[in-house]
């Protein structure tokens, strides 16, 4: 099947099998390997991207379901330089092996956009329930999201 979608501002058209997962499309067809695969049951969140403005686990969507959609991956999150969330993960040592990090950042950006700059520690911890990290113990990730939330502001 032919699909066309916009990824990080650029339009792509490809012939794909109906069963091709969106994450495999992004990684193999578009060679955007910043989106990682950490599980096969939609638990870990390493593959989280933005699909039409929502944080979505791209292992749980077929590429054909994203036909016509606007996608942002970690590679396209910041225009130039770093997004405040990326900067905050760096500042707060919110990553170690880095494998969960792209998905964690993509989830956290939408979490802050939903709640605004005033979201609580509890809201952050619950908001990250779909993203697993085995290295950091989450504490510095929570601090990173708090820092970015302050900087991104917005919400209520």
């Amino acid at each position: 099947m032919q699909v066309t979608m916009t990824v990080n501002g650029k339009s792509y058209t490809r012939d794909v099998e109906p069963r091709l997962l969106l994450v495999d499309f992004i990684r193999s067809e578009l060679a955007l390997t910043g989106t990682n695969i950490g599980c096969d049951t939609s638990q870990c969140g390493a593959c989280t991207i933005h699909l039409n403005g929502k944080a979505v686990k791209s292992c749980t969507v077929f590429a054909v379901q994203a036909a016509g959609a606007e996608l942002t991956t970690i590679e396209g999150l910041a225009g130039t330089g770093l997004h405040p969330m990326q900067q905050a993960f760096w500042d707060k040592h919110g990553l170690q092996c880095g494998y969960c990090t792209p998905g964690m950042i993509m989830t956290a950006v939408k979490l802050v956009e939903r709640h605004g700059g005033t979201l609580s520690e509890e809201e952050i911890r619950h908001g990250l329930a779909g993203n697993l990290c085995r290295c950091t113990g989450y504490q510095n990730i929570v601090k990173a999201v708090q820092q970015a939330a302050t900087e991104m502001g917005g919400g209520d």
Binding site: C39, G98, G137
Partner: protein
């Protein structure tokens, strides 16, 4: 310039990770690359009657299909065991099994195809005629009559036995004990779950006959050695193993896995680049698991609480084969730690390594040391309860005093340094122990289940020295390599045999070298994980990188400084001993004349122009070191938690958590704190949520992230983390390992808190994981409940409590 030691420098590797530019093996794409998938056994134990691959081979896009026999005919060897205790029986393990499978997930057939999707389709078309065989799952049942043998040639399913300590003194201690605490417990099997699943890519160059293998390993050089000498047969000089960015390991990526043989073998066979990426479901069935002990222990005390003896018997489940370092974990990294933080004059530890129809077990974060700490610290807590003492008071009474270091335990180790009273003072103060004990009393009067758990734990990090390791069974050494290559412009490329899979060596090792040579840290680049660039090195495990790899860097830097001083002395017409190498500025000058200094870069340039060097001095400025430590280092910790158990649901809420760790000097506090924080959560995972659960047929019930509870962010409060420092006296940095202490201490700090919360109900001990369901049933079954039976179901399905040791089989005592 200089002065980088002890600074919380942000990590230099992070920009690539936060922008999605991590160089993980699965991200590697080579033109014309083919893809491998592995057919795995659905049975825990079965004979393979026949394999029919015709339909798979006929599938469009399939390049080839290989069975185990074809690999053997093609020259692959058995996977070796790298740690051999006396009289060990090592079962045969082939990259693909030929006529029998011994655990669910055992590898049987390999398919290589044009895409991973086609390769997986082809697996569905392979017909294997299995004859299922009876299974044994439980480490304690392996020797019972009628229990099947996992390997026909290994009687009683016992691969090895090991013992250590002073047996006679221990028996006497119990004969004269005024109080004895007895405890049977299980340290449940865990699954490591590094976020990056394993992967391998191989590229064969038919013209030069050279192979490159990219693999998710913590130690690429030992993998190359094993591939060359045992499994693949390609000479070391023709084989390059690269472990680029590796997404976590926690031990599970130390070992030599079948796919590291299969993938390059196929790449050579079809003369194309080949890639294999493990699915998460496969990783549950094939990554080496951790822990899995059943233990019977007794602690002898005087009435005043003085420890007089400890006797431990442990059944250690090794799984279906011996993973690369499996026999090290429950022997020299477990029984040797049974002294804890305490003076225990008599200790006798015995263990049996048993084979079962389960995934092989090997090192997992802590590796033997968490099992020892959990056992000792549970015993101490129960002892305090039985003697009516405060658990802190009992611990303090038995601490090794600060003025008795180095301290020789009865179980081989010589502890290097520590000050356990100061450690506890700090942790108890931060936690507010006395006040929280008071408020606990009030909470209990209201019927609330509030518990406080204390853990005082020891770790042995940076296994060493090589000679002793060899005597204990190691097939490898435990030194580390370093090269400092100073370029003519005064910048440096540093090669280290340690490997970073999240630890941040590109930052911390640059701190060490820049500090040693007085350089700008931005002029130092760290290279690791590539046997084509780095001299043979041992990799990263056992919290060894700082204390062994870092020390190797110091030794190499000392040589660079010595040569720089020779050149400076010659050019400034002074004696070498009159040259001052100012590491804070990176300048060299004659004593008393700092104004006439030469910069490090000037000296480097002079070393390479070689226009004006001392007679006999070789040009260039590149030095290497192989550092073999004199001893392990012995980090220690006090972790204290307060939990409250919801009576209605059994859920554990962690209310306060304080961690104070003594990991010696610290290179980068930000990085060390990160290691401790991550370790705590992994440790709490064992206490509360994680367990590998097998059913009686040997099916792994917790075989996906849906069923195996990797902890999530919302389980935790903010942890209060700090340090005390007693530098290690025997390495040049004074550092101790920081990678595993959090995991070792957190498990029992939480388990003790939960058991303290349940103590008013008369519950003495429950097995981990302390899930809401288990606690709810226990609360219901205890006094004050509704009469339902307390359950203490074990994490391994169908496993009984350990029976009378007198009924255990004849034991081979191999060392006194």
């Amino acid at each position: 310039m200089g002065n980088y030691m002890g600074e919380s420098i942000k990590r230099r590797e992070d920009p690539r990770f936060i922008q999605g530019k991590g160089k993980y093996v699965a991200n590697l794409h080579i033109p014309n690359m083919a893809h491998v998938a592995i057919l795995r056994s659905p049975y825990a134990h079965a004979r393979i009657r026949s394999i029919n691959t015709d339909a798979a081979k006929a599938l469009d896009g399939v390049i080839a299909v290989y069975t185990g026999q074809e690999l053997i005919d093609g020259g692959v060897g058995k996977l070796p065991c790298g740690w051999n205790v006396p009289d060990i029986k090592v079962p045969d393990r082939w990259p693909l099994m030929v006529d029998r499978v011994r655990h669910v997930g055992d590898s049987v057939v390999a398919v290589v195809a044009e895409s991973p999707y086609i390769a997986y389709d082809a697996l569905e078309l392979i017909e294997v005629d299995y004859e299922p065989l009876p299974v044994v799952i439980d480490a304690r049942k392996t020797t019972e009559p009628g229990v099947p043998l996992v390997h026909d040639e290994i009687p009683d399913n016992i691969s090895y036995a090991w013992a250590l300590g002073n047996k006679d003194e221990t028996e006497q201690a119990f004969a004269s004990a005024e109080h004895v605490v007895e405890l049977e417990l299980i340290n449940q099997r865990l699954i490591p779950n590094a976020m990056e699943p394993r992967a391998a890519v191989a590229q064969w160059d038919a013209y030069t006959e050279e192979m490159t293998l990219w693999t998710t390993s913590q130690n690429p050089h030992p993998i190359r050695l094993l591939l060359s000498a045992f499994t693949l047969g390609i000479p070391e000089q023709k084989l390059r193993v690269i472990s680029p960015d590796v997404g976590g390991g926690f031990g599970s990526k130390i070992f030599h896995y079948p796919e590291e043989v299969i993938v390059p073998w196929i790449a050579r066979e079809i003369n194309r680049p080949v890639k294999w990426v493990c699915s998460r479901s496969e990783s549950y069935l094939t990554d080496s698991h951790g822990r899995d002990h059943v233990t019977v222990a007794r602690l002898a005390l005087k009435k005043d609480g003085t420890f007089t003896g400890l006797h431990v018997q442990t059944w250690s489940n090794q799984g279906a084969y011996l993973s690369t370092f499996a026999p090290l974990i429950p022997t020299a990294l477990y029984i040797t730690l049974l002294s804890g933080l305490y003076k225990i004059p008599a200790i006798w530890g015995e263990m049996w390594g048993t084979l079962t129809n389960t995934v092989p077990v090997d090192a997992y974060r802590g590796a033997g040391r968490p099992e020892a700490s959990y056992l000792v610290e549970r015993l101490v807590d129960i002892a305090a309860q039985e003697l009516g003492m405060d658990p802190v008071e009992l611990r303090r009474k038995n601490f090794i005093p600060a003025d008795e270091f180095p301290y020789q335990t009865p179980v081989a180790f010589l502890y290097d340094s520590g000050d356990y009273h100061r450690l506890f003072d700090k942790a108890l103060g931060m936690f507010g122990y006395d006040a929280l004990r008071e408020s606990q009393k009030a909470a209990r009067e209201q019927g609330r289940l509030v518990g406080i758990g204390v853990a005082g734990c020891i770790e042995a990090s940076g296994p060493a020295p090589s000679q002793v390791a060899g005597a204990l069974g190691a097939a490898v050494g435990f030194w580390e390599s370093a090269v400092i290559r100073v370029h003519p412009t005064g910048k440096a490329t540093v090669l280290t045999g340690s490997h970073s899979h999240g630890q941040g060596h590109e930052t911390t090792f640059a701190q060490v070298v820049a500090d040693q040579l007085g350089m700008d840290i931005n002029d130092v680049e760290i290279v690791h994980g590539d046997t084509g660039r780095v001299p043979f090195g041992m990799g990263t495990y056992g919290s060894r990188s700082g204390c062994v790899g870092g020390s190797a860097l110091v030794r190499a830097a000392e040589k660079v400084r010595a040569k720089a001083i020779k050149i400076a002395a010659h050019q400034m017409e002074a004696a070498e001993e009159d040259i001052v190498y100012d590491r804070t500025t990176g300048k060299l000058h004659v004593k008393g004349s700092p104004a006439h200094a030469k910069g490090f870069a000037e000296i480097a340039f002079a070393a390479y122009t070689a226009h004006n060097l001392p007679a006999g001095l070789e040009p260039g400025l590149e030095e290497s070191a192989f550092y073999d430590p004199a001893n392990f280092t012995f980090p220690n910790s006090c972790h204290i938690s307060q939990v409250e158990i919801d009576r209605e649901t059994g859920e554990v809420h962690i209310q306060h958590y304080t961690a104070v760790d003594d990991v010696g000097n610290v290179i980068n506090p930000l990085v060390v704190e990160g290691q401790i924080l991550g370790g705590i959560v992994q440790g709490i995972g064992q206490a509360l949520t994680e367990a590998a659960v097998y059913d009686e047929a040997g099916q792994l019930l917790s075989g996906s992230m849906m069923d195996y509870a990797v902890p999530k962010a919302m389980l935790f409060p903010m942890f209060d983390v700090d340090r005390t420092v007693t530098p290690s006296p025997h390495n040049p940095l004074g550092v101790k390992g920081a990678g595993e202490m959090g995991t070792i201490a957190a498990t029992v700090a939480i388990a003790n808190a939960v058991m303290d919360a349940l103590a008013p109900l008369g519950i003495r001990h429950l097995e981990m994981p302390l899930t809401a369901s288990k606690l709810w049933h226990a609360i219901q079954g205890a006094s004050g409940g509704n009469g339902m039976q307390a359950t203490n179901e074990t994490p391994l399905g169908g496993r009984d409590e350990p029976g009378d040791p007198a009924n255990w089989p004849e034991r081979q005592i191999l060392s006194d």
